[in-house]
Symmetry: C2
């Protein structure tokens, strides 16, 4: 029986059948409710108020007895049983402006670029005799006859959409055209060249491509002039899927959730959301460089395996379920039309190969871009985002693993954590004498919270100054008004309400926050540890530590070593490389050889599944301390304490 559900304050009423979830009813009413956990009923962010009417709460997780008494319900866990009036509270809007001055530095050419050698796309001028009674060759054979002698291959293929436009373009152009042809990289088999585009007349020497990094949080696009090899424009924005889950697991859960109307609806929605984000960014870079979108003939895409699955509309459910396998690590090459990208519909979309469910193309591309695959000495590569992926090896061998660090370093799971946007404290120091903090805020405004780099800073500073001990407990004997008893136990006050942004109140770091940060850093260090043990090397023997990702770009090595997040190596061994993923895609876009090297990297990597590794839990537990149970692994930190730290205790022997 249908029931009328009225949503306030919008005042919209929809008719739905009994058993419909409030989230589906709201969607039917075209009203947005955030679902950061992907409709799992875990995050509590989809809370709504039932003003009147009959509903059934399947789960009330995160709601208190008072909440329930006041009528609150989780929209994703509550179903309609009769007519009802529901109030949707104001939805938190993610701040959708990335700090572009931090993402749009000039990108250097990664290698001397020789298009004739490197570039699989070629723009070729072709002139043909028009058809005549004496020569009735069909249009496609006529073009091939003129074009093939200019190519290093025997066969040329054409897609149906291109074939449908062929005759019109040839005649409009009076049989003088510029053909864009792709050789080599089109298929991994020994395949023929492919006609990608046909432009009337002899167009100037012009070829465009885009390198795309689909991050769980951020999507980045480079627009590349394939004639000079130069990045002409770049843009980044939040991945439109964020509203449907903040981490990969939530997104997979949302995408695989069946709707009665269409079991594929959520999967298709997720695909559309990220395609829309990419298209918006393509529009931005194209407009900035005064390039028509349809003149972009190729896209190279990287991302973690979940992001690539969702982009391709693949079912990612097996990624999150034991034994954690993907549908495909090396996806087939597509045309832009198949994905709905707004570049030339016949243009190539090449999703670079990944290795496993949690080591994706962002890592293989990152390894290429970091040149780790050329290293003669033992090298460690690390990319920290929501997950931490790491690779250990040399030019001859590579071993990799992924650890679920969780989103603590992205500011989630921390009371006053936030992303590195305007208003975030990004650096912080604690005075060793009076334990007073000083900090720097992105945008020089009143602070709203702490981003990842500040959290690492603060944890190290509190440890070094003795405010917290090696287990992360607040020392009882510390005398400062900054340390106080808060709602969730002991906490350290960073900024009082009068100095923070309006509505933020006091900014503090709680014991629960510290525990979350310890778990995150321990997961990453344990990953290093297991990799090194697996191949029988010592982390101390690593000659280079390459750190990719925007996270790495801003962290303070000294502080990261002090908390035991990074191995205790000389600071000059660390190299911060920024977004290695998009740069790897950029290299693959420029060069056939770089493209095949990435497949080589993917094929060569040995993947270690940490959840199947019996030693992982032990090394993780040992790493839950500051900097580590085994103090000798961190000689520089040990020395600091021995030389006059205010630390109240020396770390215990294990």
């Amino acid at each position: 029986m249908p029931h009328a559900i009225t949503f306030q304050p919008a005042g919209r009423t929809v008719t739905v059948s009994a058993g419909t979830s409030l989230i589906d009813a709201a969607e039917q009413a075209a009203l947005e409710i955030s679902q950061p956990c992907g409709s799992q009923g875990r995050c509590g962010r989809c809370v709504v108020k039932v003003e009147s009417g009959a509903v059934r709460r399947r789960s009330t997780l995160r709601l208190t007895a008072e909440d329930l008494a006041a009528g609150y319900a989780l929209a994703c866990q509550t179903v309609v049983q009769g007519d009802a009036v529901i109030t949707i509270p104001p939805q938190e809007k993610a701040r959708r402006t990335l700090v572009t001055d931090k993402t749009a530095g000039r990108v250097e050419l990664p290698f001397p670029y020789v298009p004739a050698v490197d570039q699989p796309l070629q723009a070729i001028h072709v002139e043909m005799e028009p058809p005549s009674m004496a020569d009735q060759t069909d249009d496609w054979s006529r073009l091939k006859r003129a074009l093939l002698p200019k190519l290093d291959c025997k066969t040329l293929t054409i897609s149906m959409p291109m074939l449908r436009r062929l005759g019109g373009i040839l005649r409009q152009a009076d049989w003088r055209v510029t053909a864009v042809v792709e050789t080599g990289a089109w298929d991994r088999a020994e395949c023929p060249a492919r006609l990608v585009n046909l432009r009337p007349g002899f167009s100037e020497n012009m070829l465009w491509g885009v390198a795309i990094d689909v991050g769980t949080t951020t999507v980045s696009v480079y627009l590349v002039d394939l004639v000079s090899g130069v990045v002409r424009a770049q843009a980044a924005d939040y991945n439109g899927q964020i509203a449907r889950g903040e981490d990969v697991i939530s997104r997979i859960i949302y995408a695989t959730k069946s709707k009665a109307s269409n079991p594929d609806a959520n999967r298709l929605e997720m695909q559309q959301l990220v395609v829309e984000t990419i298209n918006r960014l393509i529009r931005t870079v194209a407009s900035e460089a005064h390039v028509a979108e349809v003149d972009i003939d190729k896209a190279v895409v990287v991302g973690n395996s979940t992001m690539i699955h969702l982009l391709l509309g693949l079912d990612g459910s097996t990624i999150r379920l034991d034994p954690y396998v993907t549908a495909v690590n090396q996806p087939p090459i597509l045309t832009a039309e198949q994905l709905g990208l707004i570049i030339n519909p016949g243009g190539t979309v090449d999703c670079l190969p990944g290795v496993a469910s949690y080591v994706g193309a962002d890592i293989t591309a990152g390894v290429l871009s970091s040149r780790m695959n050329d290293a003669t000495d033992l090298t460690l590569f690390l990319d920290v985002g929501t997950n931490g992926e790491m690779v250990l090896g040399t030019a001859d061998w590579l071993i990799t693993c992924a650890c679920s660090a969780g989103p603590a370093f992205e500011g989630a799971g921390v009371l006053h954590g936030m992303r590195a946007t305007r208003g975030a404290i990004e650096e912080i120091w604690v005075n060793r004498n009076d334990l007073e903090p000083s900090y720097r805020v992105i945008g020089d405004v009143a602070p709203q919270g702490l981003c990842g780099s500040a959290l690492i800073n603060l944890l190290a500073e509190l440890f070094i100054t003795g405010v917290i001990d090696k287990a992360g407990n607040v020392n009882a004997d510390v005398e400062t008004p900054r340390v106080r008893k808060g709602e969730f136990g002991p906490e350290y006050l960073i900024a009082a309400a009068d100095e923070t942004a309006a509505g933020v109140g006091d900014i503090v770091l709680t014991k629960a926050d510290i525990d979350n940060l310890l778990r995150a850093k321990a997961a990453i260090y344990a990953g290093f540890d297991v990799l090194a043990t697996a191949v029988g090397v010592d982390l101390a023997d690593v000659s280079k530590i390459l750190i990719g990702g925007n996270f790495g770009k801003y962290i303070n090595v000294e502080k990261a070593i002090q908390i035991g997040l990074l191995p205790d190596a000389d600071w000059d061994k660390f190299h911060f490389l920024g977004n290695t993923a998009v740069r790897g895609a950029y290299m693959a876009l420029l060069s056939q050889s770089a493209r095949s090297q990435i497949t080589g990297i993917a094929d060569m990597m040995t993947y270690l599944e940490l959840s199947a590794d019996n030693t992982f839990y032990d090394v993780f537990t040992s790493a839950l301390f500051l900097p580590h149970t085994d103090w000798d692994r961190f000689p520089s930190v040990k020395a600091l304490f021995e030389n006059g730290s205010r630390a109240s205790e020396q770390p215990a022997e294990r």
Copy 2:
């Protein structure tokens, strides 16, 4: 300014802007008006009556002054200028039942079929270890690892739709599946094998394909069991495009006509019409053989070049315009999904190669099926439909041409002509003494008209009995009430109104009909003549004359020679092969070798463009007589006259 147009007798009113054609307004009102000439204003079949209101007639071809005075107008040539009331007269319904007993004879295996050698599709049982923590290989690599060792190739490709279903099928089937793989024929380049289908479990030895002949008038489908090679069901039906043009030229004109709403609308409509016809036939054969449509993994398609262009949604406009070139003679291979066929969406659709605008895949496939390409002696192949296509040659060389015979032999352009359906006179004799006719009707019912074979019969009988002379004029001195003066000049009465079907009236053959038939037969004979002259051979030296097409199946050789349609050869040199086109497609569906032979045939054929041949008009003119100006080319007919024909005059020397 919008105007209201009311259509009677339906009583539907639509609002359209000034300048809209009545045909578009009727379409908007969802009312059908026949357009056999493709909206060119030539056929007069879209006539409607303007009861009241303002319209402008852009053309009034085929309408008399009386018609105009009575308010008649051609819907395709008349545009709205104000509100109007229009009556659509009852539309002629094509009889949409083919005489199936004539098309559904048992089809023999064309050669000993050894699937392991011949068939590019293979169904392979594969069993895999399920993924585990010890083996997290991705689904696609896992399947390839198990499947590739069972194939003779190194690489296997997969489409996105197949990849999206992969993980689900593998798990549902508990990692025991039957993979359908296509090798070799998938791409003309040296391409990898392709995964076409995946069925859960070890399905019984089952593989299905369809061979499809898209004729201008008739579409034929064979359902083929690819395990035994046997045709399990066949069906034929009129091509759904007929309502939009009876010949290829009308259809191209209709398809390329731009609509304001969407310039591609007509092209897409034509594609959809033929796809619907094919899908209906696939449903018929699948149901007859108790096969699920999605278990059909391949379609091989033949047709003339226009039919293939329209099926693929290609712009055919250049086919009808000097210098008559196609967009493509060897179309790319597609998946069923790309065309909208209801077989397995990932199944292969292979449109066989043609040679030129008017010599299509129906002819290359016909040559293969006739085995002309193996002939050691000079052989002539002929396929007569709306056009006549012919091929002369041996295993070593082939020359081909097409002549626009027009649709006279299909019953069009002849006052009482009709297709070979129920009610058509298909055989007719004229008594040499009293000049009275006797005839046989398809279905043994009262006659409604004459089909092609009867027209040839009758023309020969009237000539042999002296009713008409060699120029096709009715002899003035013939004494029979059957010859009379009709509305359109002299005519021969075949059946009076009292013996014909209700509403038909007298069935006659007029002088205009005779002229049309003479032009048709002359065009075909002239084609033979030009081909033979071009290669310097004599038609008398031809050792075999192979006749394809349903037309050929029922004509009387003796009569066809007597009118000079076919060369005067011994009757045992003639072989009637029926639908060679669909049988060629059937062979290509069975065998990779047959498939490559067809490409070989297409590549080997020399195409002679008759409209560019200066001698064509002369030889055509000479062939406009019965049997020919040069009597010596038809010694058997000459002998007949010399040995006591009632012919009133001997043919003149040229």
